[in-house]
Amino acid sequence: MDTIRICHLYNDILNLYGDTGNVVSMKKRLEWRGFGAEVTELSFGKFDTNTKFDIIFIGGGQDFEQGILTEDLFKYKADWLTGQIENDTTVLAICGGYQMLGNYYITDKGENIEFLGAVDFYTKASSPRMIGNIVYRTELNGGHNVAAFENHSGKTYLGKGVKPLGKVVKGFGNNGEDGTEGARYRNVFATYGHGPLLPKNPAFCDSILLSALKTHGVNDLSELDDRIENAALKNALDLYG
């Protein structure tokens, strides 16, 4: 069977909230079904922009490194990443990685920091931070609500052509105001939910995998024994849903 190539972008910086767990989850669930899974860690500096990836994953990080990160993004990765998104590569972006895909970020001092502009939304600094368990509804999680954790100070507002990934049941979501959570655009899945997101939302993980497997002619996935994952999801939803 085919090998799926996963790119973990800025893996050494954007790994604050156990985000690597999302990559582990995708890799294992591919391997358990007999697919190959190859993870490439892509951090600062030049790289071969012709390398093909099926899934690009971007996690969340600290404010401290954001400066050097945007510098590298614009120097080496911006055109490539925008191109990948327009070519329908599957992208999972979480928290800081999510914000980075938008048009700009307005700091608490009112400065505009230009971001990638690959997806039409912007983020505005706010206080206090939005921290806590979050539960949201989406069709991507096999009929279950998603249980995750959010920790962000930015409020995100979606542009007209961009759909939210889900509707907030408990927690803040994009901005704590309009009930939206995350963003959907082409094959981009962006969310504030970490925890990490995919391990205990296994159906969501499979939705991401299916999005990437389409180009390999795969349209459905075999069932896995998800009793442990689903028990963790149920426990989190019972506690916080």
Binding site: G18, Q62, E65, I131, I228, E229, A232, A236
Partner: protein, 464 residues
């Protein structure tokens, strides 16, 4: 000693006494009462005592314990807040416990574990006193509370700003911690560190300080121990590790309960043993040795004390649940947990079961995602080599299921998993197996579970 503070001590003692009659623990409420009556109570009670504050992400409790062990072994009397009551109220309460009814504290030293965010509330009263502050390290910890590691660093700086006279004892190998020496006006700084790499069992996967705190270039290392700790340097701006005056020059052997090292004390080399389990505890032993130097102890006395260190509450605490016994191990964040994983990877056999417990109360961290920064894969590799038919992995706590998922994805055999959330039932199950069990528990699981253990076995009493 003013009338006001003496009155406050009496009121505090009365509060504690009442709480005890009611059968409640009394580490913080007496402190609240005393601070209300006399805001500078801490400064009053500590004015004739040498104060040692220990702060940092990991190793606070063990380091305090080691310092108190060392000072006591050398004939000094100490008071300390042993139960991890490390915020202002807990610190005030422990002074109260040591004070006479007239508000006099007859001790040579106060060894105080200080929560990073609480340090400033504690040091505020120590202006002009003889104060030493030990900073063990700074790692990612409870991000739901602190935000990020630099926030922790800022909190410690605020605490130090109240005590310009402080003698600092800093971990040389932590680029975040050692930056405190330069950013503050303090002149009296002593560094401790490890002058060699740890063996391959130690983890260096996740780093909390990849880029230089001064210029944001990537750090390079001559040698690394674990996490971001090691002999770091920045090629761009020249920020680098300071040579420590108290150091492990060489690590000769990691044993189950101790480590044999070549110890460097102000340029002199000695063979020494630190009787604490786990590679990470070498740092805690070194921190205590550095405080020993600050206190003016003879080298021979420091070395003798290092050989007789004992583990504190919940840190590899042996409990005789049955013939084989069980070990309680507290875990609070990825760096600490990874060092426990290193320990288990080196020492766990097929005859050991492991219990993992995770809560998400505020003292544990409400965000449980940090368990994915823990390298269970490494432990899984070891278990694959040594596993036996009867080996089980137990899970408990409000978020025990999250740990099950984590270990499943690390490659553990889920047929050996047992989830049991009721502590009493769990203890009965563990008793029945009769097998030696490592119990790796987050903070509030540790507190609750240990209480239930106390119903069936005799436990060492710790102040609460």
């Amino acid at each position: 000693m003013g009338v006001r503070s003496a009155f406050a001590v009496m009121a505090g003692k009365l509060t504690a006494f009442t709480l005890r009659i009611l059968g409640k623990g009394a580490t913080s409420l007496p402190g609240v009462v005393m601070l209300k009556l006399c805001p500078n109570i801490l400064g009053d009670l500590a004015k004739d005592i040498k104060v040692i504050c220990v702060t940092g992400t990991n190793g606070k409790t063990t380091t305090c314990h080691a310092i108190a062990d060392m000072l006591t072994a050398n004939g000094y009397t100490c008071l300390s807040n042993e139960a991890g009551a490390n915020m202002i109220n807990g610190v005030v309460s422990c002074f109260m416990n040591a004070a006479s009814l007239t508000g006099k504290v007859k001790r040579d030293y106060a060894v105080l574990e200080c929560d990073e965010a609480s340090l400033k509330h504690i040091t505020k009263s120590f202006g002009g006193l003889d104060v030493t502050v030990v900073v063990t390290n700074i790692f990612r910890d409870q991000l739901d509370r602190y935000g990020e590691v630099l926030t922790t660093l800022e909190l410690i700086k605020k605490g130090l700003a109240f005590i310009p006279q402080v003698k600092l004892v800093l971990n040389a190998d932590c680029s975040l911690t050692s930056s405190l020496a330069e950013s503050m006006p303090h002149k009296d700084v002593r560094f401790f560190g490890v002058n060699c790499a740890f063996d391959h069992n130690s983890s260096s996967g996740i780093s909390d300080a990849v880029y230089c705190i001064k210029c944001k270039s990537k750090y390079k290392y001559h040698s690394r121990t674990f996490g971001h700790l090691g002999d770091f340097y920045c090629e761009n701006c020249g920020y680098r590790r300071q040579a420590p005056s108290v150091a492990a020059q060489q690590i000769k052997a990691f044993n189950t309960g101790s480590a044999d090292i070549t110890l460097l004390l102000d340029g002199k080399q000695y063979e020494a043993q630190i009787t604490l389990p786990g590679a990470y505890n070498i740092y805690n032993g070194l921190a205590a040795a550095a405080v020993g130097k600050v206190a003016g102890l003879d080298d021979s006395r420091i070395i003798a004390a290092l050989k007789k260190l004992t583990t504190p509450f919940g840190r590899m605490e042996h409990i005789a649940l049955h013939d084989k016994g069980v070990e309680l191990i507290l875990v609070k964040n990825p760096a600490g947990f990874n060092e426990v994983i290193s320990f288990l990877t080196a020492h766990c056999t097929g005859e050991d079961d492991i219990l993992f417990g995770l809560n998400d109360n505020s003292a544990d961290g409400t965000d449980v995602s940090w368990i994915w920064d823990v390298e269970f894969e490494k432990l899984c590799g070891r278990i694959d080599e040594v596993k036996t038919e009867n080996q089980r992995f137990f899970f408990t706590g409000r978020r025990g299921e999250d740990l099950e998922v984590r270990l499943k994805y690390a490659g553990f055999d889920t047929n050996r998993f047992v989830l049991e959330k009721d502590y009493r039932t769990l203890i009965q199950k563990l008793r029945k197996t009769g097998r030696h069990t490592y119990m790796v528990l987050s903070y509030t699981v540790m507190l609750g579970f240990r209480d239930k253990l106390g119903e069936v076995v005799e436990l060492k009493k710790y102040a609460r």
